[in-house]
């Protein structure tokens, strides 16, 4: 069935618009079947959403059917930015915005990790502790006496994290222990492991492992790409994105498959270009105080974009990603479809822990050290908060990596703005809680509307 070639020019009975999309009638096909195909063909433009307007209609239906996606968070982000800019004029200064990007990168990675668990309608409470373990392992591997080269150190830390995820995922899926309990155990147990790791190492004075300022691990957050390199990277990323989306949409339209209208593709490319150019411009403005110029995009920004891009690809273009969504919505249907459900869920928990390890790397790089006082519990809460604020559902099956990006930026903006305003830690926590509750409320309201078939 799948080897069937797409029909060529089509038979005369086919209307030209649909000749590619539909199989030509077979020899012995009865008259009414031809009529049926013609009827279908007349509905084709509407099926394919040819115009911007139809696309927007379809998009609106999607929102109403419970796929609120990124809209509420984008509106919220704009409001937050306006509020802080009115309160503190330095909020939108180059220096502060770059600071915000770096803050956001940590929450984005944590949220990206948690999204794998949330998509399965599970939760991983241990991701903060896993990040702490990963950071300690990396810090110890690249410091004396081990002295591994930086990338091997990072790889070592990430492998340890993935191993923890494999263990937790196995307990959850093979022994059928709720993920809440297994990862709560992980949260507690790994906090102990972090203290042990700090004690093994003689250089960890007072539970603090510092990272050499010469190390690329330190420079990940604390050094910048030169402005020239920043622009080159931007052009490469945008060029690849534009080429892929335009070519793919054009090819699919040519084959009569459903594809977004050209105007929408171009609009998306333009938005991505505008965002990217804005980020690079902001980062290349001199934000140094005094005589020393400080400009360029911090290395962590392309790293985060790479992770989000890779994970988006995994979720939308691979079997594993498709199965994660399927299991999150209907595990029984997935099982009956022959999917190895326990294995997919185990891999998802490995991905949570692996991405958590990357977050730990960024955490340690930003501080220039990793200490036993890392607040692993709070980091988990921010991971969940950022994912949910970004638009990922707590109830499984709905969410994208883009949501991690948006949610991470919102949380960072709230922290950053409140800190600029001189609000106390207590006030910051309360404000974050309010944003989180609002986001979940929006999620469940939209879902309820979707469920009642509005």
């Amino acid at each position: 069935m799948m080897d069937e070639p797409t029909s060529g020019p089509g038979t005369p009975a086919d209307p030209p618009a649909a000749s590619v999309a539909y199989q030509e009638p077979e020899e012995e096909v009865v008259e009414e079947e031809v009529i049926a195909q013609q009827q279908l063909a007349t509905t084709a433009p509407d099926v394919l959403a040819d115009s911007l307007r139809e696309y927007l209609d379809a998009w609106w239906r999607r929102i109403r059917s419970g796929e609120s996606g990124a809209v509420p968070v984008l509106i919220g982000l704009v409001l937050i930015v306006i509020f802080f800019q009115i309160e503190e004029s330095t909020f939108l200064s180059a220096g502060n915005l770059v600071n915000l990007f770096v803050q956001a990168s940590l929450y984005i990675l944590f949220a990206a990790a948690e999204i794998y668990a949330l998509l399965l309608s599970e939760i991983d409470l241990s991701v903060g502790a896993v990040a702490g373990v990963g950071a300690f392992v990396i810090a110890e591997l690249i410091a004396p006496p081990v002295n591994l080269v930086w990338w091997l150190g990072i790889a070592g830390g990430l492998v340890v994290c993935a191993g923890i995820g494999l263990l937790q995922g196995t307990l959850i899926t093979r022994l059928h222990i709720p993920s809440f309990i297994v990862t709560l155990g992980g949260l507690l147990g790994l906090t102990g492991v972090i203290i042990e790791l700090a004690q093994i190492d003689k250089t960890a004075v007072g539970g603090v492992m510092s990272i050499s300022t010469n190390s690329p691990v330190y420079n990940l957050v604390n050094a910048n790409m030169s402005p020239t390199l920043s622009w080159i990277v931007l052009v490469i990323i945008l060029g690849a994105y534009a080429a892929l989306s335009i070519v793919s949409a054009t090819r699919r339209r040519a084959r009569g498959l459903s594809a977004p209208p050209t105007s929408i593709v171009l609009l998306k490319v333009a938005l991505a270009a505008a965002g990217g150019v804005a980020v690079v411009i902001i980062c290349t403005i001199n934000r140094g105080a005094g005589l020393i110029a400080l400009r360029g995009v911090p290395w962590v920004v392309p790293l985060v974009l790479l992770v989000i891009g890779a994970w988006s690809f995994l979720l939308s273009r691979t079997k594993l990603g498709r199965y994660i969504y399927a299991i999150g919505a209907n595990p029984e249907a997935a099982r009956r479809a022959g999917i190895n459900v326990p294995w997919v869920r185990t891999i998802a928990f490995m991905l949570v822990a692996f991405t958590g390890g990357l977050a730990g790397l960024v955490y340690a790089s930003r501080l220039g050290s990793i200490a036993t006082d890392i607040d692993v519990g709070q980091l988990v809460l921010f991971a969940v908060a950022a994912a949910v604020i970004g638009g990922t559902s707590l109830f499984g099956g709905r969410g994208k990596m883009l949501h991690a990006l948006l949610g991470g930026v919102v949380i960072a903006a709230v922290f950053n703005g409140l800190a600029l305003m001189g609000i106390s830690a207590a006030g910051v926590d309360i404000a974050t809680a309010i944003v989180l509750i609002l986001a979940v409320t929006v999620d469940s309201l939209v879902r309820r509307r979707g469920a009642t078939g509005a």
Partner: protein, 284 residues
Amino acid sequence: MSTGDSVTAREGGNGASADGSPLLSLRGVGKNFGPVRALSHIDLDIPPGQITALAGDNGAGKSVTIKTISGLWPPDDGEIVWEGRSVRLHGPKDAEALGIRTIYQDLALCDNLDIVQNMFLGHEPLRRGVLDEDTMEIAARKTLDELRVRTIRSIRQPVASLSGGQRQSVAVAKAVLFDAKLVIMDEPTAALGVSQTRQVLDLIKRLSSQGVAVMVVSHNLNDVFEVADRIAVLYLGRMVAVDEASKFDRQSVVEYMTTGLSSRGLQTAGVGAGSNPQASERKQ
């Protein structure tokens, strides 16, 4: 290749199994759950290209029968004959490999995935290691066209946005996507309104006109008489009547379902008459 199959099957289907051999035969199938005899000595022939309705009151053994055929619960005794040879089904995969697809009442669709994604779930073709969306969409649209499912706006819309009848259509399309020979549907119209029911009944007829054997489990006698070529009635785990639909009327089916006998004297196939699969037909 699917085209070729369905063409040959279609010819056979119209001629009501031209060579006379049934697609599937249950011969003396029994199933126990501990001391409970859920099925005893069931004989049932399912001819290709026809719609067989399986009727029976609650607890008559309809679910056990379809779960036996779909490989979920292997029978304790008797044999299952598929296209003339005896087969043992150890799991749903065995039944699927033969071309038996079962659509349970819950339809097993993922609300968050679109129609194409649902139809191919678990069987996605890959191109250079990446999901081959183009191939999937073309094949999905072709199958939906063949079933003449026309009420769906876009095959890229999530299943959550579909009506009950449309969801049933997607489940059927998913079942026949890969060369199905027998589609078993459990209460396909149970949760549907009038027009949705019509849509699904039409779909069932179209399926059989394409040469696919369909077995419909239903409580609803209106639906049974509307679509069925043959009717089989279960009563307390026994097959009490199997024949062409025209040989029954509403009254006799109800009597078989509730008492296991019919006062109209159509037939009184009980446990004893079951040893020969053709026995019930020969009585006519």
